[in-house]
């Protein structure tokens, strides 16, 4: 579409969703680890997976304002699905990934009918309880999931029959990054769509929405698909699934990551994941026993001084610089 054919209001809306140079720079920079830190590709792959998970939470928390403490349920569900598919003899990564994402989507679809009825504290408790239920179910069904020992015997085939998942993480990172990028494109498109606008409407004022004719929608589904994708990626790239993928700690971590980076911004989860994972890697190297102390310090500092996350702080800095110039 050419912008000359658009009316002024359309041009304004188009400017809202236009790709900015800094975004292109960001995605180019995601390729740097291949060159600069080839020994850290495994970590980079974990970051990409966490970023995808955080992105999925951002869609419901940052955009629709739904606070969830059980988001790991979809992540873990996708993870176990992908792991089991591979264990049972179908090790093809891409179709396994899609099946796991679909399974998480089904879980999201089912749970959305309950979740859409609650708000605020009740919602937090419902999602928390839902997450705990699923984690405990996986724990007790050890014949299926391997219980506390984790799911063993996951063997992935070569990606596209060419690239094996090696110990260095080259394939793992390329694969995770590609999926993250594609999911990001979908999320970006969604946020710019009427549906995305409706999501923001819910966040901005849930009372007004029915008064303009908006029905209560179950927004969690697409986020569940994305969280399932992330979980499946983890299972496929590490060739194991542990109960930790369903744990409360994982739900809490991703919330922290999103707040760190800045909720309600598409890049918030991505930037948060990079900061959090790198900080965790570094802190645990410096101080293996007490590294959570430093994570806690970091979190308090960010919330005190950058209430809208790192990205919110940067946006404020940019505005300040522009007003001075």
């Amino acid at each position: 579409m050419t912008s000359s054919a658009l009316t002024e209001p359309q041009r304004y809306l188009e400017a809202q969703i236009r790709w900015r140079p800094v975004e292109i720079a960001f995605w180019l920079a995601t390729l740097l680890p291949f060159v600069l830190a080839p020994n850290y590709l495994v970590l980079a792959s974990q970051i990409a997976i966490t970023a995808l998970f955080a992105l999925s939470l951002d869609l419901i928390l940052g955009y629709a304002g739904i606070v969830s403490l059980g988001h790991a349920a979809y992540f873990g569900f996708g993870s176990y699905t992908a792991g089991l598919i591979a264990k049972w003899g179908w090790g093809e990564p891409v179709t396994g990934l899609l099946m796991a994402a679909a399974a998480a989507g089904v879980l999201g679809y089912v749970s959305s009918f309950i979740i859409a009825r609650f708000r605020h504290l009740a919602l937090i408790m419902i999602t928390l309880g839902f997450g705990l239920l699923l984690a405990e179910a996986a724990n007790s069904a050890s014949w299926l999931t391997g219980g506390a020992d984790g799911l063993q015997g996951v063997r992935m085939w070569k990606l596209f029959d060419v690239f094996a998942f090696d110990l260095y993480g080259t394939t793992a990172y390329s694969y995770s990054l590609a999926v993250l990028f594609l999911a990001f494109l979908v999320a970006r498109r969604l946020i710019g769509s009427p549906f995305g606008l409706a999501l923001r409407g819910i966040r901005e004022n849930a009372v007004r929405m029915p008064a303009i004719g908006a029905p209560a929608r179950a927004h969690i589904r697409i986020a569940a698909v994305m969280a399932g994708l992330a979980g499946a990626l983890l299972a496929q790239t590490t060739e194991t699934v542990s109960l930790e993928t369903l744990s409360f700690a994982r739900s809490a971590d991703v919330l922290v990551i999103l707040i760190l980076g800045g909720a309600g911004r598409l890049y918030g989860g991505l930037v948060g994941a990079i900061i959090y994972m790198v900080a965790r890697d570094q802190f645990s190297g410096i101080n293996p026993q007490y590294w959570y102390f430093w994570i806690g310090t970091l979190l308090i500092l960010v919330v005190l001084f950058l209430p809208n996350g790192v990205l919110g702080g940067m946006a404020r800095l940019m505005r300040f610089a522009r007003s001075r110039a």
Binding site: T7, Q10, N205, V207, R208, A214
Partner: protein, 251 residues
């Protein structure tokens, strides 16, 4: 007799022992402008909440045109053409005025669930939203976030959001609340210029405005309709003078 745009039959609502609506019989003909007045606590906003479905009545029925809407959810009533505004601004602070009205238009046209094409592609919805903003003299500020708009503009945006749903019946809960007196007449001139296809019921405390813009006036006291009539009837009504115009209300 033509079919009323909106009618209620025997609406009752109580909170515990507090009666907030008792046997409310209201008939709003198409295209008319009715004012709903009464002292604070008379149940005016409660009545709007009952009609729009934000509260469930204990008893009684509500009709929009020939359809009974008593059992419908608030959003379904909006789809049928019954919409309200709020006494306290109930807007989308971080959306621009254009985005907010476009959202309401998209909801009406059924686009709001679609997520694959981006907003500028829905040119007709965007144009319609912009036209509404132009008609309410908001075009100049429609790209700014709602929270940065002047208070009077936010009151107009309340109405713009309601108009975007293409209502047959518009319920305005103190549209000029908090607006300085000089500007409230201007706001009401916008309301009286609205299409005559829309029936309007508005709550307002400023009697000058009420007598100037309302075709008929409904007086509520203590959860009941005390009297209904033309502005002349109401001005002459001794009980209205006693409970409302004469005293009781200060400020």
């Amino acid at each position: 007799m033509t079919m009323p745009a909106l009618a209620t039959r025997g609406l009752d609502k109580r909170f515990g022992s507090l009666v907030v609506a008792k046997d409310i019989e209201l008939t709003l003909p198409p295209g008319e402008r009715y004012a709903l007045i009464g002292p604070n606590g008379a149940g005016k906003t409660t009545l709007i909440n009952l009609i729009t479905g934000m509260l469930k009545p204990d008893k009684g029925r509500i009709f929009l045109g020939e359809n009974e809407i008593t059992a419908l959810e608030p959003d379904a009533r909006v789809k049928c053409g019954l919409v309200r505004t709020f006494q306290i601004n109930t807007l989308f602070p971080h959306l621009s005025a254009l985005e907010a009205v476009t959202l309401a238009v998209c909801e009406r046209q059924g686009y709001a669930g679609s997520w694959w094409r981006e907003l500028p592609a829905y040119g007709d919805a965007v144009e319609e939203a912009y036209a509404i903003l132009v008609s309410l003299r908001l075009a100049g500020s429609c790209y700014r976030p709602t929270r940065e708009l002047a208070y009077g503009q936010q009151r107009l945006l309340e109405i713009a959001l309601a108009l975007a749903t293409k209502p047959k019946v518009l319920l305005l809960d103190e549209p000029a609340a908090g607006v300085p007196q000089g500007e409230s007449a201007e706001l009401f001139s916008v309301i009286s210029d609205l299409s005559r296809d829309i029936a309007v019921l508005f709550i307002e405390h400023d009697m000058n405005v009420v007598f100037r813009f309302a075709h008929r006036i409904i007086v509520m006291v203590g959860g009941r309709i005390l009297v209904e009539g033309t502005p002349q009837d109401i001005a002459a009504h001794h009980r209205v003078r006693d409970v409302y115009l004469g005293g009781g209300r200060h400020g």
